[in-house]
């Protein structure tokens, strides 16, 4: 009993912090979502709106398009980073020691760069008439690459920029997971005559599942709330081609000061994120039927 009390005592600071920075703001957002509150409106006070913000939301094609665009972006980014991260993790675990250490350091550098700086750098690289990317794509392949006018180019650049920034994180996570794998099951599978693909799919992936799950969760949640990089790269353009949900919410909440509607949008985005994460958790932990 006394030990249990000490346990709660140790947990108290973390719980208190979570309550103050997590739970209370969530309740406040939930509260604001039921009000019409725009500090730039004729009446800047909170006015009860009931479900009106949510009612407007389901008819708001700009918001729904932003949400769909963000889901497509998150899908491409997470899948590509996972594949690329795994390949790089295996490559960086090769035996040539100095090469491994050198490339591991170089490869990890993008993680420490602030997202706003990443966006600014990629903007400089890709800006039409100035950046080296459009210049060499034109010179070498004859491609008229322009992120300011071509929606596909802007969208693809946003994905590549995110890959550049966050693949090292996936690589590091998977390297940690791969390094911690026990050797015996792998050797056993080899003795039993399993080929590389079979060993990967039936031995490595199941053992790596906790690491994969954590990595995918972190990357999925990050991808669904990309704002600063995209803002620096394209400002959500051309037209609305890269206006992802985080950016859309930011535009509504800050320049337009539409707090009630912004709160409703934030909550719906949170809902989508939680549902996606839960579905992923169920799919990856094999809680189907009676399978243990």
């Amino acid at each position: 009993m006394r030990q249990s009390n000490i346990g709660w005592l140790f947990l108290a600071p973390a719980t208190l912090i979570l309550l103050v920075v997590g739970f209370i703001p969530f309740i406040y957002i939930l509260y604001v979502g039921f009000f019409d509150w725009n500090t730039n409106a004729v009446d800047p006070t909170l006015r009860w709106a009931g479900l009106q913000n949510y009612r407007s939301l389901v008819f708001d094609t700009t918001f729904l398009n932003s949400l769909a665009r963000t889901l497509v972006f998150a899908f491409f980014v997470v899948v590509s980073e996972l594949l690329l991260g795994y390949v790089l993790a295996r490559a960086l675990m090769a035996d040539r020691l100095w090469v491994r250490q050198f490339f591991r350091t170089i490869h990890t550098l993008p993680i420490v760069v602030a997202p706003i700086a990443v966006g600014a750098t990629w903007r400089l690289l890709c800006v039409p008439g100035f950046g080296i990317v459009p210049y060499y794509l034109k010179q070498w392949f004859g491609i008229d690459y322009n992120i300011s006018t071509n929606a596909y180019h802007a969208f693809a650049t946003a994905i590549i920029m995110d890959l550049w920034h966050w693949t090292p994180f996936v690589t590091l996570s998977l390297m940690a997971g791969l390094t911690a794998l026990p050797k015996e099951p792998l050797e056993q599978a080899q003795i039993d005559g399993g080929n590389k693909l079979q060993i990967f799919w039936y031995v490595i992936v199941p053992m790596l599942k906790p690491v994969l799950l954590t990595t995918v969760f972190i990357r999925l949640m990050d991808a669904l709330r990309s704002v600063d990089e995209i803002w620096m790269l394209t400002k959500g353009g051309p037209a609305e081609a890269t206006r992802f949900i985080g950016l859309h919410i930011w535009i509504n909440v800050f320049p337009k000061t539409d707090y009630g509607y912004g709160a409703a949008m934030s909550l719906l985005t949170l809902y989508v994120t939680i549902v996606l994460s839960w579905l992923l958790f169920v799919a990856m932990t094999g809680r189907k039927g009676d399978a243990q």
């Binding site: 389901v58 008819f59 719906l268 809902y271 549902v275 839960w278 039927g289 009676d290």
Partner: protein, 65 residues
């Protein structure tokens, strides 16, 4: 959920669940149905019909899911 025993699929849900899971699934469905109702059906049927249906479904999921 770690530490909480999972029920085998005696219920109609295709996954092994505990009480928290079934409550969570009910809330997720409640929100989804309300949003879709507002988008497609509210002109014909009022929203409280959706609330009633979802609450009944929630009880069913939690007890039999």
């Amino acid at each position: 959920m770690a530490g909480v025993p999972l029920k085998k699929t005696g219920g109609f849900l295709p996954i092994r669940t505990n009480g928290f899971d079934r409550g969570f699934i009910s809330v997720v469905i409640l929100i989804l149905v309300h949003l879709l109702w507002m988008r497609f059906l509210e002109g014909v049927l009022p929203l409280w019909v959706a609330t009633g249906l979802c609450l009944a479904l929630a009880v069913f999921i939690i007890r039999k899911g």
